[in-house]
């Protein structure tokens, strides 16, 4: 019964997002980014080739870094979509009273939460596939470069987005739309800063900073998934040795991936539990 209700709510959520042109707005922004990225790659690598055959290793490093840079933006856009799509979904329906007709039907309230989550996750995944695929194809056509791994990193990025999606859905059960947005971006921002702190200070072997970074990552593991994805999508040497913004000096462990999965399940369960007990 929960599954049937969840699928019905997921279908409604998809329909609503499409008709309110939310998906269209996200799509236009994503395509704009891809257009700019592809144009930059086209001119960048064409100019480099016109200047004569350069160092192949340097070119490869440049292609790797630019691929990770492209995915960095993709990750940001996908995370933003994972937060913004559901931000008004539950709180808005609770505030307006729309939820009353829905919750008075013979459907477990958990199905409403899970249904919305499923719909938004599917949209986020499709968005990631589109933007990630665009970056990969741009690099393939204009730089003749294909990252060593793409599927696993994109899976990790989706997991990071799912973390933010779950946090936003859970926040929407009790918080107003604006408060929920502040909290969700707060979670993301804290994880982002902690990730950088861990990255930079680990170069100086500062164990305290690494410890703080890890603790914050446990609290909000979205950025950790990006760092692991960045590590997976570039050769080991580039990933670990480069000191640029896309190097991964401190590689998140496989245990952290398992924790992120568990985190999503726990937060979603908490959201459903809260929603079951919330007066509507």
């Amino acid at each position: 019964m929960v599954l049937r209700g969840a699928l019905l709510v997921a279908r409604l959520t998809w329909l609503e997002t499409r008709r309110r042109r939310i998906a269209l707005a996200a799509l236009i922004c994503g395509l704009l980014f891809l257009a700019v990225f592809a144009t930059a790659m086209y001119f960048g690598f064409n100019i480099a080739q016109e200047q004569g055959p350069g160092n192949a290793v340097e070119m490869r490093i440049a292609a790797t870094v630019l691929t990770v840079a492209g995915f960095y933006v993709v990750n940001f856009l996908v995370t933003a979509v994972a937060i913004l799509l559901p931000i008004d979904s539950l709180s808005g329906e609770i505030g307006s009273g729309v939820i009353q007709t829905l919750a008075s039907k013979p459907v477990d309230r958990a199905a409403i939460v899970v249904g919305k989550w499923l719909a938004y996750l599917a949209m986020t995944a499709a968005y990631l596939a589109l933007l990630g695929g665009g970056v990969v194809l741009s690099m393939r056509f204009f730089a003749d470069y294909v990252a060593p791994s793409v599927i696993v990193p994109m899976g990790l990025m989706l997991l990071g987005a799912a973390v933010m999606l779950s946090i936003t859905i859970a926040g929407g059960v009790r918080l107003s739309t604006i408060t929920n947005g502040i909290v969700a971006f707060g979670f993301y921002g804290v994880a982002f800063i902690a990730g950088w702190m861990e990255q930079i200070l680990s170069m100086f072997n500062n164990s305290t900073a690494r410890y703080v970074g890890t603790v914050v990552s446990l609290f909000s593991p979205s950025d950790t998934m990006w760092r692991r994805a960045a590590f997976e999508m570039q050769p080991l040497a580039t990933a670990v040795l480069q000191n640029g913004p896309f190097g991964v000096a401190s590689v998140p462990s496989a245990t952290m991936i398992v924790w992120a999965l568990a985190y999503v399940v726990i937060v979603l369960w908490f959201a459903a539990w809260q929603f079951r007990h919330r007066p509507l």
């Binding site: 019905l8 609503e16 309110r20 008075s104 039907k105």
Partner: protein, 305 residues
């Protein structure tokens, strides 16, 4: 099958320090159209939410169609039109009904025909393809009413069902309520429009500060018929004789006022007076309106909550 569509015992709901519903005990028999009246903030909407499982009671309990409050499965037999009738406005009325019909667990087979019948019933057949956001307030309320009637529910909760409707729309709601009664369904009507309640309900409960303070059978409410007589002459013997026809007999010169149990005794009263040779210049009767009952029961203190 349980005798009552709704039964509650000492139902209580607190929101922090505020007690919205306090010791509410109700029994609504099956097939009855029940009106729930009270001033703003009296706890009417919270009671409705408690009965629908939208809010959990702090203490006390009850049952709806034989199932305990909060039961999910029983909602397949319940219809609900919320006060603010807000729905997913990107959907058309037809899509809204289809979606809610599927949520109710109605089989796909026959659902389309059922939906078309409901759209026709509420007069939305021509606008059924348009998104709800293009509807007027009354049209949205009609769509909500159709939604509440999906699956031929045994119990229908209507929270201010005519607030956005024109006179024709109000007549529609009245007809729908009567049809529900004829089909054996129970209706729980929450309304401020006492005329609507008076015209449709079998029984009403007055709620104040979260408590039911009075219940009234509208069809056969004893002592609600006020009779006024203007007679040729009045003496004590006559007044004693009139007491056999009703209660509260009072005299003001040749004007006699009394309460009668029903209109059926009026011809007999007239015959008795004429038989005694009393000149009857005027005989008027008037049922006490629900509004008068409301004012009398609620008193001066109609502060919210």
């Amino acid at each position: 099958m349980p005798e009552y569509a709704i039964e509650t015992a000492a139902l209580r709901r607190e929101f922090g320090r505020n007690v919205a519903v306090e010791g509410l005990s109700l029994a609504v028999p099956r097939g009855e159209v029940f009106g729930f009246l009270g001033p703003n903030g009296a706890g009417k909407s919270t009671t409705l939410k408690l009965l629908l499982g939208l809010v959990a009671p702090t203490s006390g309990g009850g049952s709806v169609l034989g199932a305990p409050l909060g039961n999910t499965e029983v909602r397949a037999r319940i219809g609900f039109l919320p006060e603010h009738f807000r729905f997913h406005d990107c959907l058309s009325a037809r899509e809204l009904l289809h979606f809610h019909g599927r949520l109710l667990g109605l089989p796909k087979r026959g659902l389309e025909a059922h939906i078309e019948g409901l759209l026709l019933r509420v007069g939305l057949e021509d606008a059924a393809h348009r998104p709800l956001r293009t509807y007027s307030k009354g049209m949205t309320q009609r769509a909500g009413l159709a939604q509440a009637l999906l699956g031929a529910p045994q119990l229908v909760f209507l929270d201010e069902p005519t607030s956005g409707l024109d006179p024709l729309g109000r007549l529609l709601v009245r007809d729908v309520i009567n049809e529900l009664r004829e089909n054996g369904a129970s209706v729980f009507l929450n309304s401020h429009l006492l005329g609507e309640v008076e015209a449709t309900c079998d029984r009403v409960a007055f709620v104040k500060h979260g408590r039911v303070v009075h219940e009234l059978e509208l069809a056969s409410a004893a002592g609600t018929l006020d009779v006024e007589l203007r007679l040729g002459q009045v003496d004590d013997a006559l007044l004693e004789g009139l007491a056999a026809f009703g209660t509260g007999v009072t005299r003001d010169d040749v004007l006699v006022r009394m309460h009668a149990s029903s209109e059926s005794m009026l011809p007999e009263l007239a015959r008795w007076l004429v038989g005694r040779g009393v000149a009857v210049y005027e005989l008027r009767c008037r049922r006490k309106s629900l509004e008068e009952w409301f004012v009398e029961i609620m008193g001066d203190d109609q502060r919210p909550g």
